[in-house]
Structure formats: C-alpha cells, structure tokens
C-alpha cells in the first residue's frame, strides 16, 4: 500500500486537491448564487439544488475545457515549435514527429514497449496520437457541456429579467458564451507561454519542469 502511494503520489495528491477545491467552489458558489437570489428578491436554494444547477455546471465546465485545451495545444505545439533554452522544448534538430529510432517504434521497439506500439499499422498510428486525441476529445466534450449549461443558465437569467429566451445555436454566437470561453483561454495561454519563457532563465531545484540550477540559459531540452 505504501509503495502504491509512493508510486502515485503526484496523481493522488493533485486528485485529492482537485476534489477539495471542487467542493470549496461548490460552497463558495452556492453562497454567491444565494446572495444574488436575495438581491433579486427571490428565495435562496439548497446545496444539492445548486450543484445540480446549470449555473454551477457552466462554471465548472468552462474551466475544465480550457485546461484540456491548454494541454492539447501544448502537446501539439511542442512537436513543432521551438523555444531556445526552455526545458519544455525539444532540440531544434528534433522538431517534428521524429524518427522511428527516436520514438522506439517499427524496428526499434523494445521488449517493454506497449503492445500497440509494437503492433504496427493502424494500432500504432492511433497509439502515437492517443494523448493529443484524448485531450482533444475531453476538451470538446467539456466545451459542449459548457455551451449547454451556459445556455440554460443564460436563459434562466433572461427570464428573471423578463426577457425572451434564445436557441442553443444563437447562444453559441452570444457574447456570454465567447466571454466565458475566451477569458479562460487567454489565462491558460498566458500561463503556458510565460512558463516556457521564464523556465529559460529561472530554476526550481529538483523539479523536472526546470533545468538544473547550473545549466546554461541557452541549454534546450534539459531537465533536472
């Protein structure tokens, strides 16, 4: 059991922190929602009603989609884009999808290679893209969920303001939908872009996300 926790400490720690912060968001969101309800002259709602509401769903989904979009773009961006001196970047000569030798595919598979890497053909082709594919699918599902939940929350607000509701397709072109999407995307892109650049000049001793403390600023694709 101890070995399991040691071997999975990073995933378990962030998983637990995720659940705690999601619970915190639900409580803070409920209080905020009810403050608005009271200001509007309507009754506060209970915790379960809130966590099943479109208001909570859209707040969660809009953040999830942007996180998966961030990783999707990073997974693909780092295949083709170079950042000199960054531990997040590959060396200039390895840009692109790389050779079978570099990727341990084809004649270069090893005994420990995953079965679909050894299989060749369509299975290896799919496995070679599985990380980006899954990130993309999760992003699209979360963005779709955001659009549906956001549409419902928007229509609820419209009715509370004695205005007409709109169709889902109209909501996809609305300022509310794009404001929610873009405000999350810009923050993710800022974080990723600034990290790629700052990691050229700054260090975090012991972190594989950083270069070794003594590494040259110009050293690319080095982590420690």
């Amino acid at each position: 059991m101890r070995a399991f926790f040691r071997d999975n400490a990073l995933g378990l720690t962030f998983g637990a922190a995720f659940l705690l912060t999601l619970a915190g968001q639900s409580v803070a969101g409920l209080v905020d929602f009810n403050n608005q309800q009271i200001a509007d002259g309507t009754d506060p709602i209970g915790y379960l009603d809130y966590v099943m509401s479109s208001s909570f769903a859209v707040d969660v989904a809009e953040n999830w989609q942007s996180e998966y979009l961030q990783f999707l773009l990073y997974v693909f961006g780092t295949v083709w884009l170079f950042q000199r001196g960054s531990p997040e970047s590959k060396p200039l000569h390895q840009l692109g999808r790389e050779s079978d030798r570099d990727q341990q595919t084809g004649r270069h598979v090893t005994a420990g290679s995953p079965p679909w890497a050894k299989a060749g053909g369509w299975r290896t082709a799919i496995f070679s893209r599985s990380l980006g594919f899954l990130m993309g699918v999760i992003f699209l599902l979360c963005w779709f969920a955001q659009s549906v939940a956001g549409w419902a929350a928007y229509n609820g607000e419209q009715l509370s303001q004695r205005e007409d509701t709109i169709e889902w397709l109209s909501y996809l072109g609305s300022a509310d939908f794009w404001n929610r999407s873009l405000q999350n995307w810009q923050s993710e892109l800022l974080a990723v872009g600034s990290f790629a650049v700052l990691s050229v000049f700054l260090r975090q001793r012991g972190s594989p996300e950083s270069k070794p403390v003594g590494a040259e600023h110009g050293a690319t694709a080095v982590s420690g």
């Binding site: 002259g41 479109s54 549906v148 509370s160 303001q161 004695r162 205005e163």
Partner: protein, 131 residues
C-alpha cells in the same frame, strides 16, 4: 466503445444539468391556478400565488392591500398555452399576455404578470412585477 460511451454520458449529463426548456408540471399547475383565480375574480387567491417580493412591490407601489391593487391593474385571465422552464425561472404564454414565474420555497409563484413584449432584446413591460 468506451470513448463513445463517455461522449454519450457527457452529453446526457450536460443535458440533465442544464434543465433546459422542458415543461415542469408544478410550474404549469401554478400558472393554471393563477389563471383560474383571475378568471373567477378570486384576487385573494391570485395574490397568494404571487411571489413574495412581487406582492410586496405591488402593495408598496399602490399603497393598497394586494387584492385591491390587483383589481386596479385589471389583469387578463388568459388560458395558459405554453410554459417554458429554465432552472428556477419560467415563462407562461397565455392567450392574452405573458407571465413570468419563479421557484420559491413555497413552490412556483408568479413573479410578473400582464407582460407584453417591447422592442427586440428589451425586457417585457409588465403590469405587475417584482423588484
């Protein structure tokens, strides 16, 4: 396929979470009761079906108790044609005008009545409305 199931589940979850646009029997029942009370001239009952904030606003604005204030507003008792629910808010289209309902701790109540649309994207103009 696991991925297909995931997509289906996520889409279903999204649609469930949105609570979108479907009818809610309780909201439709409240709208029908309000229409019936207006049709019967039972303004005391109609006042009971108003949302508390709407009733308080009406009485404050007209300096009268609710039934007398409602009489002054001369609301039409149209038949309820369609009720659309979004979360805790609903809109009832009647043969005469539009009512807006809200879910309260006592159930669905009328938040605004005697409403007619104005220009596009502008709020409805209502004879009776809350804050």
């Amino acid at each position: 396929m696991a991925l297909g199931r995931t997509a289906m589940l996520s889409a279903t979850a999204a649609l469930v979470l949105c609570g979108c646009g479907g009818g809610d029997p309780a909201a439709a029942q409240a709208a029908s009761s309000f229409g019936a009370a207006l049709g019967a001239g039972d303004l005391r009952r109609a006042c009971e079906l108003l949302a508390p904030a709407t009733r308080a606003t009406l009485e404050y604005q007209q300096s009268r108790v609710c039934p007398q204030a409602m009489q002054q507003d001369n609301l039409s008792a149209g038949a309820v044609l369609q009720v659309e629910v979004w979360g805790g808010e609903a809109r009832a289209r009647t043969s005469s005008d539009t009512w807006f309902l809200t879910r309260t701790t006592q159930g669905w109540r009328v938040a605004a009545a005697g409403c007619v649309p104005q220009a596009q994207d502008a709020p409805y103009m209502c004879k009776v409305s809350g804050p």
